[in-house]
Symmetry: C2
Subunit: 326 residues, 2 copies
């Protein structure tokens, strides 16, 4: 069996944690703090030419660099509190910096976050943000809590960022310019589901943010939950239930599924909850002002399966999003 590239990387950097207080997290690591809070920590990098076009709008970039990190905090149910910014710039360009900072602070200010440190270096444009959030001890949403019989939910709509990306590449076109603009806004200025994550504490049994595509990220939940439960779990997804924007719904059926199931860059939350908590899930969504859709169920038995309306399994592969392959 040849190792996948990410598994190869894992081989070198994954080790069991030695300090109880600093356990290896999931979307975030959790550190102990006083007064019953845990500190959720995560970091994500954006690289020019890979995660964004070299001529990307600087204001959107400032927003997105923080948003993708906030999405990890959201997946843990944490309240954002602070961040570190490591910014690598090819040159000091005041116009770029002003716009980047504006986009960054507009989002940081929404959550009253402090920038507590960082590093500025010269080199190919990229940015790594480390975010800190607070969560009451023991209440963080983890990937590992799903149980057989739980419903699988997802917030918002799926596949819009992928539609925008494929349109940029000339491989897809949106039905109307307005629908393309809407998809581009999802790609460039994602809305991390921070309020929803917090509202789901005590309700969701597991959660993950959808950054690599629904199937890949739900796969992480199934895997982590199987390990935690000591038995093999799976998931069935009802293709007809997937929440699609008007733009994605207007695509050919094959593209609809590729975008929704393996799109990448969605920054929605995929989470599980016991069936009897469906009303509580709806209430949490109402509190957060974010629509949620029940799309399937966790089952005993392995793998994530996608079923069409007649209940038959869709057998084809939905290519996962891998930055080393794309």
């Amino acid at each position: 069996v040849s190792l996948g590239e990410f598994e190869l990387i894992d081989t070198y950097f994954r080790r069991p944690a030695r300090h109880a207080a600093l356990g290896v997290g999931d979307d975030c690591a959790l550190l102990e703090t006083p007064s019953g809070l845990q500190l959720a920590v995560s970091c994500d990098t954006l690289v020019a030419g890979r995660h964004f076009a070299p001529d990307a709008d600087a204001r959107s970039l400032g927003h997105k660099a923080l948003a993708v990190n906030l999405s990890d905090l959201a997946a843990c149910g944490a309240r954002p509190s602070a961040f570190l910014l490591a910014l690598t710039l090819p040159r000091v360009d005041e116009v770029f910096l002003a716009a980047f900072a504006q986009g960054l602070w507009a989002l940081a200010d929404l959550y009253a976050m402090d920038l507590i440190g960082g590093d500025t270096t010269s080199g190919p444009l990229s940015m790594t943000i480390t975010v800190f959030g607070e969560v009451p001890r023991g209440q963080a949403l983890l990937r590992s809590g799903a149980r057989a019989g739980d419903d699988v939910w997802v917030s918002g709509t799926l596949g819009d960022a992928r539609l925008a990306l494929e349109a940029q590449r000339g491989r897809l076109s949106a039905a109307t310019p307005a629908l393309l603009d809407a998809a581009r806004a999802r790609l460039d200025r994602p809305s991390p589901r921070v309020a929803l994550g917090q509202a789901l504490r005590g309700v969701a049994s597991a959660a993950v943010d959808v950054s690599d595509g629904l199937l890949a990220d739900l796969g992480h939940v199934v895997e982590a939950s199987s390990r935690a439960a000591g038995l093999r779990l799976g998931a069935r997804i009802d293709a007809g239930a997937l929440p699609l924007s008007e733009g994605v719904a207007a695509l050919a059926p094959t593209w609809q599924l590729d975008c929704a199931l393996a799109g990448g860059d969605d920054y929605e939350l995929c989470f599980t909850a016991p069936a009897q908590l469906a009303t509580a899930v709806e209430a949490a969504a109402g509190t957060a002002g974010v629509p949620v859709t029940r799309i399937g169920r966790i089952e005993a038995g392995g793998g994530v399966q996608v079923l069409q309306a007649d209940g038959r399994r869709i057998e084809r592969e939905f290519g996962g999003f891998d930055h080393f392959l794309s």
Copy 2:
């Protein structure tokens, strides 16, 4: 007055902290944790072609990426506990990864540090590490604690990394191959003064790690301490007292001072302490097994001055190390 480039960047990203528990740090930010400890946090980026040659030895790189971050923890007197690794790679190269991981873990294992998360992306080679360390509440070494009359100390020797760098550039040559090798080891595999930083808690009044050159970094101490004391402080450095390795001592006098005062990449600690604690400083150095040298004094009145043996001020500029200018 035209803003320097770093001041320009500061303009956009510096804001007063809004949460008491998450104050803006200095070498590190300090976060509250239970049981009387504070968490020191810092992040530093290394970029290929800027901080290291694109063909740099991967094992040394793994060491240095963590070492420069440990140096910030050392400057706060913190005990290292964990880190996040954001690694950007042009391709997945198993030989590189294995060697990089080996260098990284050899240093991390010295301090029983956990890797608690991170991100792996594809792009121009660079790495951002975020480190976490613990320090008893209120005992962190800050840049702002120096007082008039305090002695100024520095650990180890200064200027070796600069000698190695200038030799690589063909602008300097070391007296012997062995001295060049010793200088290169300082550039490629710096020893962060972690034990010394911890031993100096309760002894040093202020500390900083020497990464941009002694004058620049001591300047930060003077500036922060002036602000904290509400009066203008300065420092006098005795050029004849600067601790030099055999390699740097063999250079022409002008180069000796340029390397020692504005060298960059030293990763020594520069710290201040009341004169009556000189014995305690020596004891801390003995505990840590790192030589320290008294090189000057904090004074009332502005600026950092360098005095030659006859007591006259050396008036020429020692160019500071600025990644955007070099």
